[in-house]
Symmetry: C2
Subunit: 216 residues, 2 copies
DNA sequence: TTTTATGGAAAGTTGAAATTTTCCTAAATC
DNA sequence: GATTTAGGAAAATTTCAACTTTCCATAAAA
């Protein structure tokens, strides 16, 4: 067996300071910050380049248009949205405890400033970048929904709960948990939602979802 | 008693074709349509003037900047958001019927294409026009919330339901009813929500809210 | 040394829109 | 008629930001 030495045959001119991929990554980080703060239209390319410590010439070499940069930023962030519970870590739990865990994880994801900022961005630009809206919908919304649905279905199968349409119920559950605080933050009427608030909201939500509030 | 004739003492030059207020109103209607369709940045002043059948000169006389026009458009629309049920029309009803009515009215309001378009607009521009976001929050969101809260509180007082925090429960109820469909429309993943869907969602929502889904 | 390539700094270029101005005609009063 | 005012059409101006280009110092191979 003979190991092939990697050919260090350098090309003629001055070598790159770093790989294009690394530079792209630096740019995406800078762009992410700016877009999140100021939105698409108000962010300008020069400031992104400056923040990344790169010339606009280089930026344009790696991202031909502002729109390309924006898409990459958002898609990368969307890809990282994952609900922070393993499905099998819920397995041993009682109905109530499991649901609470699930809601806490979902709340932490959807109520983080970061997620809210990206969500706002996607909503704002869904006219200009409809494909992004679709990616967001499928990767961020539908995917986490499915995870919750699977768990609820399992509970239904073991007769712990009674639901005729799990998908709709899941949507309702999600709405209960996040709509109001998320929107308040999105509209700048509330700062960050604390973890305590998330936990206590999850608890109430769980209670209401499982038991309702009618005095029978 | 002597009626004062309104002094028709006309000023010197050519009279106005119509009052400035009327012209403003025509402009606002045209602008409303354009902003709703294309958003703030993509809408251009010339096309608004053209659609309103007015010169840009006149437009600028009445609305010094694009931002002023935008604010007036949105504020006027927000003012018209009213939940379509009289509180006393709910009075004679059973718990379940009353809640269902309330939810249907709330659903019709928040799931209309028009409301969704304005909501999206406000979210999109909340960075540039934070005062608008605040007005929206108070006039559109908080005001309809209060109406629902009052009704739920009344039900609690007559021991029909058990809730420790009515405000939070109201927020959850609202989220159940609208978050999911509203967001799908906002992201362009769903067209208009039909009235049948609204009604049936309201029914499910009511059921879940009142009774929960746990098999005790 | 000469050749080739990299990438920063900074000065263009371009295009789209907002905002202003000019010019002009109509409709009133004096 | 002379003077004044309203308001349209359209050209001019301004502004702003995306995108390009130029110029240059630097590093490495040949």
């Amino acid at each position: 067996m003979e190991m092939q030495l990697k050919p260090i045959k350098r090309p003629r001119g001055r070598p790159q300071v770093r790989s294009d991929d690394e530079t792209r990554s630096v740019l995406i980080d800078a762009a992410n910050e700016q877009f999140k703060k100021a939105g698409y239209a108000s962010t300008n390319i020069n400031s992104i380049a400056q923040m990344a410590g790169v010339s606009t010439k280089t930026l344009y070499r790696l991202f031909p248009t502002k729109g390309d940069l924006f898409s990459e930023v958002v898609e990368r962030r969307i890809g990282s949205f994952l609900i922070g519970v393993d499905e099998h870590s819920l397995e041993g739990l009682e109905l109530r405890d499991g649901l609470e865990r699930l809601l806490i994880a979902y709340g932490r994801l959807t109520l983080s400033l970061d997620t809210i900022a990206i969500t706002r961005l996607v909503i704002s630009e869904s006219e200009r970048f409809p494909e992004l809206a679709t990616v967001f919908f499928q990767k961020a919304i539908t995917r986490t929904s499915r995870a919750m649905e699977r768990w609820l279905s399992a509970q239904r199968d073991k007769k712990a709960i009674a639901l005729d349409d799990v998908a709709i119920a899941t949507g309702m559950l999600r709405g209960m948990m996040t709509m109001e605080p998320q929107r308040a933050v999105m509209l700048g009427q509330l700062g960050e939602i604390s973890d305590d608030e998330i936990v206590s909201r999850a608890r109430r939500c769980c209670e209401l979802f499982l038991n309702g509030c009618a005095n029978i």
